[in-house]
């Protein structure tokens, strides 16, 4: 199959064979063409060349509906559940033969009967908006199985799950394929998942199939080599020991509500010393976003105190500047940028009114902003048409770099970061992690909230676990046990 978007060749003559009952992993970096490939299979994109054969016969799948009718189902990275509806309503939504009037008693009986054959349970009456990410993922998969799909495509299914949940979901897929009830394609960039669960693998790089085959014949090194090609990874930064520094950021019994008026952060207390990275582990939706928003000045706390270097911190611009406080929020394009403004302007949000960037003390100097932007674009390797390009024209990774450049270029003494590497490829991830370690080595206090436990184990000096808005467990990195942490992430222990 081949697919072009304008001048970009997203998919270049890629072939893939899926036997009944197989478990196939598609491995590749961001932009390697993984999503494009499956979207062509599902009928979202029309391939420019190539064929789709089902049971040896030609099939032009022109839209998702037709793909569904052939028994193809897809679980998306971004959930396609309807948040205000109950789990049961979401389950029956995809039925092609949805009757005009729904007999809930009959539907319920069918769902109940179906659920008994499934290895995990879910509360069917709760609205989906109230489910944790892991539960939503399970519901998505359950929905596809309920609809009787025979080929299931999962797009990065474990990115929002705890390690235990990820193993459970992938294990279920493996069992179902072993019983030949299902053929599964998993898109991932995690080697561990491909090696531990899949039976075959296809590696894509820059739109091309660069390797693959039965998993048993491949080693991790083979996969890394195929996925990255000639590109080399930066060496992980070495951390300098900095014991016994003063506390730079302190939260005391902080409580905050979410948008629905429910308590999202409960009595959170933690102290971060200068030159220390404190990692906050947790499944998304356990109050991390609200906590970061409070620290960034985007949300009012209900009670509790925040202190920076012993002084009360009122989260004003003046205080942030005086103390050198910087924040990397989740989804930066949405919460920390203005899409319609230029890269230079977005880079100058913290500094546009400083003397170096103004004329006569109040008139912003465009030339100074551009100069500052060019320096940052070079230093952080932002790919853009120039400082005047609108931010929304940048790719996700480059938006992330832009925010990073803004938030790390000043005198950082406190850094708060949430999922800073989410959605970035391996090379960019290593680079960003190194910059955070460098900030720590230079004496910054870093509060790092992440859903990626590997990231926390690599970067943090201490790890605390956030569950339902509380910090429920704390461990130093040395001697931290993945499964103990995972256990605390999933429930009160």
């Amino acid at each position: 199959m081949t697919k072009r978007f304008g001048t970009l060749l997203a998919l270049d003559d890629v072939s893939l064979t899926l036997a009944p009952g197989s478990f196939h992993a598609i491995l590749g970096q961001n932009g390697a063409g993984k999503s494009t490939l499956v979207k062509c299979i599902m009928g979202y994109h029309r391939p420019d060349a190539g064929r789709l054969l089902v049971d040896g016969r030609d099939h032009a799948v022109v839209n998702p509906r037709e793909a569904h009718a052939r028994g193809f189902g897809m679980v998306y990275q971004h959930f396609t559940l309807v948040p205000s509806m109950s789990a049961a309503e979401n389950l029956i939504l995809g039925r092609a033969d949805l009757p005009a009037v729904i007999r809930w008693d009959e539907e319920r009986a069918r769902i109940e009967e179906f659920r008994r054959r499934m290895p995990f349970t879910l509360d069917l009456d709760r609205p989906v908006a109230g489910l944790a990410a892991g539960e939503k993922q399970k519901l998505e998969i359950l929905k596809q199985l309920f609809l009787g799909r025979c080929v299931l495509i999962l797009d990065e299914p474990t990115s929002v799950l705890t390690p235990d949940e990820a193993d459970q979901v992938l294990g279920l897929m493996r069992d179902l394929t072993a019983e030949r009830r299902l053929s599964v394609v998993v898109i991932t960039h995690k080697f561990r998942e491909a090696l531990a669960f899949a039976r075959e693998v296809t590696v894509l790089r820059a739109g091309r199939r660069v390797g693959g085959g039965p998993v048993a014949s491949l080693s991790r090194q083979d996969l890394v080599r195929m996925m990255l090609g000639s590109a080399t990874l930066a060496e992980p930064a070495t951390r300098v020991a900095r014991p016994g520094q003063a506390v730079a950021l302190e939260l005391e019994a902080l409580t905050a509500e979410n948008d629905k008026g429910l308590v999202a952060v409960r009595d959170a207390s933690v102290a971060v010393r200068a030159g220390e990275i404190v990692g906050v582990a947790g499944v998304s939706g356990n109050g991390q976003r609200e906590l970061v928003e409070v620290l960034a000045g985007q949300r009012e706390p209900e009670s509790g105190a925040i202190r920076v270097r012993g002084e009360p911190y009122g989260r004003t611009r003046a205080e942030m500047r005086r103390h050198g406080i910087f924040v990397l929020t989740e989804e930066p394009l949405h919460s920390a940028c203005v899409r319609g403004m230029s890269v230079a302007e977005n880079l100058a949000f913290r500094t546009f009114d400083e003397p170096a960037n103004t004329r006569g003390g109040w008139l912003v100097s465009r030339r100074a902003l551009r100069r500052q932007a060019r320096a940052l674009i070079d230093a952080y390797g932002i790919t853009t048409q120039g400082p005047d390009a609108r931010l929304e024209t940048l790719s996700g990774g480059n938006v992330q770099r832009t925010v990073l450049a803004r938030e790390l270029s000043g005198e950082v003494s406190v850094l708060i970061a949430q999922n800073p590497c989410a959605g970035l490829d391996v090379a960019a991830t290593v680079e960003i992690r190194n910059r955070m370690v460098a900030a720590r080595n230079a004496g910054a206090a870093v509060l790092l909230l992440s859903e990626d436990l590997d990231e926390l184990l690599e970067l943090a000096d201490r790890i605390v676990v956030m569950f339902e808005g509380r910090f429920v467990y704390e461990t130093p990195r040395d001697g931290a046990d993945l499964h103990t942490i995972g256990h605390h992430m999933a429930s009160h222990a």
């Binding site: 839209n63 998702p64 509906r65 569904h68 897809m74 998306y76 971004h78 396609t80 559940l81 309807v82 948040p83 205000s84 509806m85 309503e89 029956i92 939504l93 995809g94 949805l98 009757p99 005009a100 009037v101 729904i102 809930w104 509500e257 948008d259 629905k260 008026g261 949300r299 009012e300």
Partner: protein, 306 residues
């Protein structure tokens, strides 16, 4: 009338609530349906006035008030079709489009309605639920329009349909997560356009009530913003059709407050009491808003920046 005293005020407010609430009810039910699909139609005030005019005109010319009701609904649906079709184009903002149609609807109604200000049209029949009573105020209060009854039945029916029919689920999916709807292969723009048309039909029928039942004439000051208040009412009712019914009664009662007090001789501040529904709208919007929380029940596809 004085023998009932302050009870009379209560009876008159209650009767007024039933009588005046019908346009609120129809417009808010229509807007609920439209907003459930993820679009806001602010043009329903224009649709309401246009419905009132066309119902009156058709009833006058044909002699059949029910034909007038039907034509009002069809006119409303046509306006809904325009709104829905134009908003289906890329980068068209549904709020701006709604305001444009609001102005167009009222303007068109005033222009076409000029010849109908003088003539008298046949009015809709009423159901005299108060025939058992000797008291004129009680009988007046229980003179109920069949349209009110229809609306009172429609509210729970709409709630049921949104939860128990295929179309209800489709509309809610489209309004809550259009990506999910697309993934399921449903035509998002078409569903929204149909929901806007249905909403327009209901608003048009609500307008026919104004000119054919109460107040029962056609003039340019007939609606005085009821269509806009009904949209605010949808937010207050949290997009629940049955709550729309109760909220409409509340708004109807507030509108009837001035005339009711006048009936017992309180004539000072008449215009101040006339402002009651507007004050109520303002008060409820302030009460039901929050700087910190998003609205519970709001369809997630509703946005002002499309």
């Amino acid at each position: 009338m004085m023998e009932l005293g302050w009870w009379g005020v209560l009876v008159a407010v209650a009767g007024g609530a039933v009588r005046v609430s019908t346009p609120y009810l129809f417009v808010s039910l229509g807007e609920t349906l439209t907003e459930k699909s993820g679009r806001v139609n602010l043009g329903l005030e224009g649709t309401l006035v246009l419905g009132a005019m066309s119902a009156y005109g058709v009833a006058h010319l044909s002699g059949s008030p029910w034909l007038g009701v039907l034509v009002a609904g069809v006119a409303g649906a046509a306006f809904g079709l325009v709104h829905g079709a134009v908003c289906s184009l890329a980068r068209v903002n549904d709020i701006a489009m709604g305001i444009a149609l609001f102005l167009l609807g009222t303007g068109l109604a005033f222009y076409l309605g000029k010849p109908f200000i003088e003539p008298v049209a046949p009015r809709l029949p009423h159901l005299a639920f108060g025939a058992w009573s000797d008291s004129p105020p009680v009988r007046a209060a229980l003179d109920v329009s069949p349209l009110f009854v229809a609306g009172a039945v429609l509210a729970p029916a709409l709630r049921w349909a949104l939860g128990n029919t295929k179309w209800g689920l489709v509309v809610r999916t489209v309004g809550d997560n259009s990506d999910a709807a697309k993934a399921l292969g449903w035509p998002v723009s078409l569903v929204r356009t149909l929901a806007t048309m249905a909403g327009g039909f209901l608003a048009g029928v609500g307008g026919s009530f104004l000119s054919l039942h109460y107040p029962g004439t056609w003039n340019e000051a007939l609606s005085s913003g009821q269509g806009l208040m009904a949209i605010a009412l949808v937010i207050f009712a949290r997009w629940d059709p049955v709550a729309c019914f109760y909220a409409s009664l509340l708004f109807g009662g507030a509108t009837a407050l001035g005339p009711a007090l006048q009936s017992v001789g309180v004539t000072t501040n008449y215009y101040l009491y006339g402002a009651a529904p507007y004050v109520l709208t303002l008060g409820l919007l302030v009460y039901s808003s929050s700087t910190k929380h998003t609205l519970v029940g709001a369809p997630s596809e509703l946005t002002i920046s499309r």
